[in-house]
């Protein structure tokens, strides 16, 4: 009778798993791998260490004036010193707390929005309450707050105001335009098509010029029209055309049976569109809608050309300050970094949203 002994389990050989296997597979698997890997390591070697030296090792962080920046590296003192300017623009220093309130409130409202669950009415209420409160806090002129005219607004705050209003208001306008494009009424249909194709065919900057130069001519003399308001209208109308195109793509993805089923349930046109079709359209359009929102967020920098003081304008303005000349590089890197964080954050969030809304294959 044979006695079988249980064999001791052996450790797996190092060349089938672990870091060594990873290096073998991903860096040096074939001669081509080796060549490319070394080329890129070389490229990284000549770019990354100098950048780190400039941005961190040789950089100055502490101080109050230009004299504090002694090293060869970046002068982050400049950014820290001008931080208020980058975030709030020319907003009066004594009133800045109001903007901070708005920033704080936006976080509180977002959390409330998230944890109100599925109560639709509460969400609508929250969604409409926040802009009203934010409007009174930022403009002032009532409830004992000092009025701050819009030409004092600037920096990150202005960038966020323009892009969030543009993104939010353009949604319903764009949805209506997309419905209009599918309409059977020839006037509505042709108007929607012409509008969408016209706006998508010209650069934003020409539309901004139109808003700043031509639009005032259509109003009676003496009626002044706030520059920021004009930009907001123009940006919203611009974005609406792009939203309409995305929604149209979504509409095309909805099977015909959905329309027919809604019709046979006896729903009216608006009931059919808003209750049955739109929720499905939004679901499939999320990635493109967020992509467009990111595009608009980047495009708000164009208001620089018609003379509003957005985040990017601040780099130019601060770098011509006679006490702080020569720090444009730091300014551009800082502002670029802010945009990078916001945009890649948004696109990551869109991936999460996409997965959550994907009700198939659960």
């Amino acid at each position: 009778m044979a006695i079988y002994e249980i064999e001791q389990s052996q450790k797996s050989p190092t060349n089938t798993k672990g870091p060594i296997k990873w290096v073998l597979d991903n860096l040096v698997a074939t001669p081509t791998h080796v060549i490319f890997s070394f080329l890129i390591l070389g490229l990284l070697y000549i770019t990354i260490p100098p950048f780190i030296t400039w941005a961190i090792i040789d950089a100055n962080f502490i101080g109050t004036t230009k004299a504090s920046c002694t090293g060869d590296g970046a002068c982050w003192v400049f950014i820290i010193h001008k931080m208020d300017f980058f975030i709030y623009g020319f907003y009066p220093e004594s009133e800045i707390y109001r903007i901070n309130w708005v920033f704080g409130l936006s976080i509180i409202f977002l959390l409330l929005f998230k944890y109100t669950g599925k109560t639709f009415k509460a969400k609508i209420a929250l969604f409409s309450l926040f802009p009203i409160i934010a409007y009174f806090l930022i403009t002032g002129g009532s409830f004992g707050l000092v009025e701050v005219p819009t030409d004092k607004w600037g920096g990150l705050m202005l960038t966020l105001i323009i892009s969030s209003i543009g993104i939010v208001v353009a949604m319903p306008v764009g949805i209506i335009l997309a419905f209009g494009r599918q309409s059977k009424l020839p006037i509505i249909k042709s108007f929607s098509i012409v509008y969408i194709e016209f706006v998508r065919g010209v650069p934003l900057i020409t539309i901004l010029f139109m808003g700043s130069v031509i639009l005032p001519m259509f109003f009676p003399e003496g009626m002044t029209f706030d520059k920021l308001l004009r930009v907001l209208i123009v940006v919203t109308l611009f974005q609406a055309a792009y939203v309409a195109e995305v929604i149209r793509g979504g509409l095309q993805a909805i099977p015909k049976g959905q329309y027919e089923a809604a019709d046979s349930e006896g729903l009216s046109y608006w009931q059919k569109m808003l209750i049955i079709i739109l929720p499905q359209v939004i679901k499939v359009s999320i990635p493109n809608l967020v992509g467009n929102a990111i595009g608009l967020f980047k495009d708000t920098t164009l208001v620089l050309i018609i003379g509003l003081f957005d985040l990017l304008t601040m780099v130019g303005l601060t770098s011509i300050d006679s006490h702080w000349t020569g720090f444009a590089t730091e300014g551009y890197v800082f502002v670029g970094f802010i945009f990078l964080i916001f945009c890649s954050g948004l696109s990551r969030y869109s991936k999460v949203l996409e997965d959550r809304l994907n009700t198939e294959n659960r």
Binding site: N26, L27, A29, T32, H33, F36, S37, I40, L41, L43, F198, R200, G201, V202, P203, L204, I205, T206, F209, M210, V213, I214, P216, M217, F218, F219, P220, E221, I294, K298, D299, T301, L302, L304, I305, L312, V315, G316, A328, T329, Y332, V335, G336, F339, L340, C343, S344, S347
Partner: protein, 355 residues
């Protein structure tokens, strides 16, 4: 509303109509591919603007497509560092505004270049300094037209040869490998004609005179900043289109083609690419329209294209905002119309036929 418009126009003493186009413009344009001076009319400045817009756009389209295709393929590479580098590139340049990139190159990088006396020499007679990038200007002498004719003739020959090869392939199934022959034809025939015609091409080299380089062809910093950022920015979108096109091809297609005994090159050329192109090409073409539209950001650095010259300088001089902005917009609309016609044509060509 329109009565308001009339009252406003009269109150401001602005003329209406398009008669201003024939008036003397009275401003200079720093760079122009066609003859232009301060005595030219506003219509001429309009044309110069369109020409410069197209010039910088074509640069942007060509370089962004080349760069985008490379980055898009690199993104899918099995080599870890290559794909990581490509995705970092896409992440960084896609998520920062184009205007910021233009201003960065213009105000930070190009300003930091040395002055003309300490210029950086790149190869023979290519000079980079803070006044721009100077290269020799080719001058076509008598007889050069023969070289051009020879070049087109060799293209026709190549097209004819590949048609013959295709017919032979369909008839007999024998594949003729034409690529080296085609390259030989494309290079040798024009070169031969060039030599026979007696070297009819000379170069006007840039030469340092006083404080700046004279002669040659100089790309201004404005042009460089714009063309460079347009290419780099748009390449990220092209790369994403290329990547999603290749990824969209079912993995079974690749496996099936290797089961049929096709080599890696054959399977890429005959099976994968034809399917990937169908998905990737439409978004790449619409990126061309975006390059044209984004070239209008030149207004921020003052490169004299359509928006800078016409909606900027000419508008300030005449005050005829409505006419000028409508003209500017209609140029972009025409370009976008042409591009969407091309797109429709391509879509129709690439459609899967039959089934």
């Amino acid at each position: 509303m329109f009565t308001n418009l009339y009252i406003n126009i009269e109150a401001r003493g602005i003329k209406t109509g398009f008669s201003f186009l024939n008036e003397r413009a009275g401003f200079d344009i720093s760079e122009s591919p066609i003859a232009y001076n301060a005595n030219s009319s506003f219509l001429d400045s309009f044309i110069v603007g369109i020409a410069n817009t197209l010039y910088v756009s074509i640069f942007g389209i060509v370089f962004s497509t080349i760069l985008g295709v490379i980055i898009g393929i690199a993104r899918l590479s099995k080599i870890f560092l290559v794909s990581k580098l490509a995705s970092t590139y896409i992440e960084v340049f896609r998520n920062t505004p184009l205007l910021l990139q233009i201003l960065f190159w213009y105000n930070v990088v190009l300003v930091a270049l040395p002055n003309p006396k300490q210029s950086i020499q790149l190869g023979a007679d290519m000079i980079l300094n803070n006044r721009g990038f100077s290269v020799p200007r080719p001058i076509m002498e008598e007889g050069f037209s023969f070289v051009i004719i020879a070049f087109f003739a060799s293209i026709a020959l190549v097209v004819y040869l590949s048609k013959v090869a295709k017919r032979k392939f369909e008839k007999t199934g024998v594949n003729t490998f034409l690529l080296p022959w085609n390259i030989l034809i494309l290079f040798s025939i024009p070169l031969l004609v060039y030599v026979i015609a007696g070297n009819p091409l000379s170069f006007d080299d840039p030469v340092l005179q006083g404080f700046n380089y004279k002669g040659g062809m100089t790309y201004t910093p404005e042009f460089l900043a714009l063309a460079f950022s347009l290419s780099i920015y748009t390449a990220t979108f092209t790369a994403e289109a290329v990547r999603s096109g290749i990824e969209a091809v079912d993995i079974g297609q690749k496996e099936a083609s290797s089961d049929l005994g096709l080599s890696a090159y054959q399977s890429l050329k005959l099976v994968i690419l034809p399917q990937a192109i169908r998905i990737a090409l439409p978004p790449i073409i619409s990126q061309c329209l975006n390059v044209v539209k984004n070239s209008s950001l030149a207004a921020a650095v003052g490169y004299p294209e359509l928006v800078t010259i016409f909606s900027g300088t000419a508008l300030n001089q005449t005050g005829q905002a409505i006419e000028i902005i409508l003209m500017t917009m209609s140029v972009y609309l025409c370009i976008s119309l042409i591009i969407s016609l091309v797109l429709n044509y391509v879509n129709k060509k690439l459609e899967i036929k039959g089934r």
